[in-house]
Symmetry: C2
Subunit: 322 residues, 2 copies
């Protein structure tokens, strides 16, 4: 029988120096933020059967639970510093813990983000991560910072995570090769940390957020906070490679309102276009201009020819459903 | 139907200025720690059926979920700054949310501790709070700081929370008046924040932790981290008022290994006794000397007459059970 303390020691305490003054093992961890820096903080809770399937691969799950939190730091433009992990588990199974902790730490190490503390308990499988990042004052990519005339940009591609889900749920008949192409976007999303940091550090963008519940719903948070509107070209939205092979109607629906994308949506003045394209190249991620911020409120969609579209799409609500 | 955003807005966003640079509503909250201060961070996850009964009073639950986190700050000697709340709920019920948020904020306000962000989702009732506090460098009450010859102190009283649980579970036939006296210690524990801060700020104590899984098990963390032992007088342990009326055997068992106490156990040099008693008076909480740290490893128990006792008690293990 693996005890709580053995579990923490064997799978989560690591023999490597970190930035924390004091890490796992006391009542609190102690962090010393760099002088003058602000601390960015975000929490995400993932529940079995809600955010991931029962029986999900533990390595991928460890990756994804941290990735969605890193994505929040990316959307703020913050540099990862550390995180806490609270874990409710039905049982302390070694194979699961081994896979989960390996997936978690592989991504954590890639971003220099240290596990500093947390909690473990028995319960329905639930993972709650709180992540900490650093940011120079005034540099944060806030949701209330979009201005009329800004371009709207999207990092990477949209919709393949939603396409994979549709394949699993048999909403869409998906060729095995297409599912294999789309599935990693659902299981092991890539947080755009380097791009977010560049946009913030170099003052390239105004507002940003990460797309987790679908662009159509999520951009509404920027529009509401900034008291502006937007016009978006649905056919300019960059579809994932698997979704790009699908019919136009599905492509439009899943790029505009797919969910689980973890790409950045950001706004920036038109005179930064060249710098933003260069920033994307430096980070190895495509950046695509998909529309503009307007003084008039509301979100309007157009097609590739500029004709108005009434898209019946909205974001994901964790209580109301989609 | 209450949407996720309405839920957050109605029950958790507050119209009062806080210390956060940016609070609820963006991808991250932004905190600006005071110059030179360290940040103390702790996470606790509470699961229905494991840490509280199904159908628990939501006001008391809101209080307790924050109290156990404040207790971790207290055990480090840190001043509360803010917290994130991640909440999985089977349904968005207004009466529950109203009670829970009132209980949560009543305690948060009493400690000037601001809700800065979090997450809400549908799922089995689970509450995960990550709390942040501030501390001057070198002042933390760490578990590895006990020294041979230190006194061992306990704040407040022990065992009434465990006695109430025993009453609910019919392990002990408890008079209604005794249950009424003991129950608040289980449902609305009082974190010893002011005492912990005084002990740290004035350099009165060496090591400290908060007693959540029972003194007998928890003190082992100080002994292991500090590579010392301890001798404790079981009859010196301060029993809660309801437990004080019970037979000696039960009193010893529940004070030594009750659990859910959220009192501080701390060690301090003998020349600080008067200052520690004065600190307790200033904070309005009793402090009781119950033993001493020894160079020889291991935990030894004696009775009030100084005779050795073999107490068959140990702490609570969330996977192994008690």
């Amino acid at each position: 029988m693996l005890s709580e303390f053995d579990l923490i020691k064997q799978y989560f305490v690591r023999d490597r120096p970190g930035r924390a003054v004091l890490g796992i093992g006391d009542d609190c961890a102690l962090l010393a933020p760099a002088p003058g820096m602000q601390l960015a903080v975000s929490s995400d809770m993932l529940v079995e059967g809600r955010h991931f399937f029962a029986g999900a691969d533990p390595f991928a799950l460890g990756h994804k639970c941290l990735a969605v939190n890193l994505s929040d730091l990316a959307a703020m433009g913050a540099a990862p510093l550390g995180f806490t992990l609270a874990l409710a588990l039905p049982a302390a199974e070694r194979a699961w813990l081994d896979g989960f902790s390996r997936g978690l730490f592989a991504l954590a190490d890639a971003h220099g983000c240290e596990l500093v503390g947390g909690d473990t308990t028995r319960g329905p499988l639930t993972v709650c991560i709180t992540i900490f990042g650093e940011l120079a004052p005034g540099r944060a990519l806030r949701r209330d910072a979009a201005r009329a005339g800004d371009d709207v940009w999207i990092s990477g591609t949209l919709g393949d995570a939603r396409l994979a889900l549709a394949g699993y749920l048999d909403e869409v008949a998906l060729a095995p090769a297409d599912l294999a192409l789309a599935a990693p976007r659902m299981h092991v999303p890539t947080p755009r940390v380097a791009l977010g940091r560049l946009l913030a550090d170099e003052g390239l963008a105004h507002a940003a957020l990460d797309i987790s519940d679908g662009l159509a719903g999520d951009i509404g948070h920027i529009l509401a906070a900034s008291r502006v509107g937007a016009i978006l070209d649905v056919d300019a939205l960059p579809a994932g490679p698997a979704l790009a092979r699908q019919p136009q109607a599905l492509r439009r629906r899943f790029t505009a309102a797919g969910g689980d994308d973890y790409e950045l949506c950001f706004t920036a003045p038109a005179d930064r276009r060249a710098a933003i394209l260069a920033a994307g190249e430096r980070c190895g991620v495509a950046v695509t201009r998909v529309g503009a911020i307007t003084a008039a409120p509301g979100l309007r969609w157009v097609d590739g020819a500029g004709a108005a579209l009434a898209l019946a799409v909205r974001g994901w609500d964790h209580f109301g459903g989609a």
